[in-house]
């Protein structure tokens, strides 16, 4: 298992963002769905070792991230795209990805080829030497995805990766996700249920800090049969599970 969470909690003051999550994940693309404030981003930030849990146990890639050496080793092997990607406007696309490849402690001799491959995988070859300040929001998102995958991570954590992407790029990105999920664990937090339906092998739905559903997209769809809210079958399943959890 690349991700193991046991009875994990995270609070901010009196607000409990994550409330007793148990999660075990192997390879594949795992979708994390839920409304705003459900705790998806907090969960992802804990998996990214950016945010320590208030209580509970987390093991990533077989190691406990509480130890500095283990955390460093984990960080070499994962990729992370935060919800709001900060960037240095004066850097070019290649410089930005290269910078984070080096901070991930990739061997410097392997960095140029890895950066070029990552740039090509997100279809940004034509903008490789463009300054980040000149790129559109969707292109910046793709730069963020490229820096996340540059080290061929065993664990890939993506928070709202398709936000700002045009439909063509979203289709392209779903294909990329599926290919990455063959050998790695990919966790995708998203609001867009169609991303989950086409790219994810498994999905969890969060509400009020808890996982209220876990199964395949087909199983989530089945939960929505006969439920009226939502345009697409998967949306109806999403709405039905949420309504049940809230009641």
């Amino acid at each position: 298992m690349n991700v193991e969470m046991r009875d994990t909690y995270r609070s901010f003051g009196r607000n409990r963002a994550v409330a007793g999550v148990d999660l075990q994940l192997g390879t594949g693309v795992f979708g994390l769905l839920g409304p705003n404030g459900a705790g998806k981003t907090s969960l992802l930030r804990m998996l990214a070792t950016v945010l320590p849990p208030t209580s509970g146990e987390i093991r990533l890639l077989g190691q406990d991230p509480r130890g500095a050496a283990a955390r460093r080793e984990i960080r070499r092997r994962f990729g992370y795209l935060p919800q709001s990607l900060g960037y240095y406007p004066s850097f070019t696309v290649v410089e930005f990805i290269e910078y984070f490849a080096l901070l991930k402690e990739m061997p410097s001799s392997a960095v140029p080829a890895a950066v070029a491959a990552a740039v090509e995988r997100v279809d940004l070859g034509a903008k490789a030497r463009a300054k980040l300040r000149t790129l559109s929001g969707g292109m910046l998102r793709r730069v963020g995805i490229a820096q996340a995958i540059v080290n061929n991570p065993d664990l890939l954590l993506l928070d709202e990766p398709t936000a700002g992407l045009d439909p063509e790029q979203r289709v392209h990105f779903r294909g990329l996700l599926r290919s990455l999920g063959v050998d790695s664990t990919v966790v995708v937090s998203t609001h867009l249920v169609e991303d989950v339906g086409t790219a994810c092998s498994e999905v969890a739905l969060m509400s009020a800090g808890k996982i209220v559903f876990r199964g395949t997209p087909d199983e989530l769809t089945a939960r929505g049969e006969g439920y009226g809210v939502g345009d697409a079958p998967l949306e109806r399943g999403y709405s039905a599970v949420l309504a049940e959890a809230r009641s």
Partner: protein
């Protein structure tokens, strides 16, 4: 039907190579075209620090324009106050703290745009901070030295504050790479400066002796040089068994 003068199959040398992965070839070409060749400073820093990532963080500090401007403005702004203000320049003693605060604000949530990403990287974010701090102070010290050739006030500013601060930063970095803890390194730097200030005060009876005593300038430079050597030694490439 036969084809006259049929040359037969091409010899093997003229066969197109089977299964050429053009994507792979292109990535190799793109890597060569796009790659950023590190300059001499970055290559040297990478060898000394034994971390290409940290070396890149060090040399790209000027590219991070806002933090660079903040730290430089704080450094020279406080320096100007020192030159203009009457009486004992007590501000010299808190100036390293002011500059450290400027640097701290130059690297953190809300100010470093990529802070969250940096936080999730293998190279510890605090070590990146120390590297940036050292880059800022070293360059400021160099600017001060250049200015010293023009103005006497700049000499006082440079040696009374920037050089000691460079030494403190170098000490903090040396401790950090030796014990592999940025917090311990930063604590050691602040503690060393505090002890220096208090000891100078006790010996000379002057509050600002740590910054105004010209006899201390050389030791500061020596400490900075020694710490740089320690950084080099502690991060030297080790032989494989």
């Amino acid at each position: 039907m036969t084809i006259p003068n049929d040359p037969g199959p091409l010899p093997p040398a003229h066969d197109p190579p089977a299964r050429v992965d053009l994507d792979r070839v292109w990535v190799g070409v793109a890597a060569e075209v796009w790659r950023r060749h590190p300059g001499r400073i970055e290559r040297t820093a990478a060898r000394l620090l034994r971390s290409p990532g940290l070396a890149r963080a060090l040399v790209t500090t000027p590219s991070l324009l806002l933090p660079w401007l903040i730290s430089t403005a704080v450094a020279f702004g406080v320096g100007a106050l020192v030159s203009i203000g009457p009486g004992e320049p007590l501000v010299w003693l808190i100036a390293p703290g002011v500059a450290a605060v400027g640097l701290a604000f130059a690297y953190g949530p809300g100010t470093d745009p990529a802070w969250e990403l940096s936080l999730s990287c293998a190279v510890p974010d605090r070590i990146v901070l120390l590297a940036r701090g050292l880059a800022v102070f070293a360059v400021n010290a160099a600017l001060g030295l250049i200015a010293s050739t023009v103005s006497g006030a700049a000499v006082a500013l440079t040696f009374g504050w920037l050089v000691p601060m460079t030494a403190v930063c170098a000490l903090a970095l040396a401790v950090t790479v030796t014990v592999r803890s940025a917090a311990v390194g930063a604590g050691a730097g602040v503690a060393a400066w505090t002890i220096t200030v208090l000891a100078s005060q006790a010996v000379s009876g002057q509050d600002t002796a740590a910054a105004t005593n010209v006899h201390a300038y050389l030791p500061y430079l020596a400490v900075a040089a020694c710490c740089a050597a320690i950084v080099g030694y502690a991060t030297r490439p080790r032989r494989e068994f």
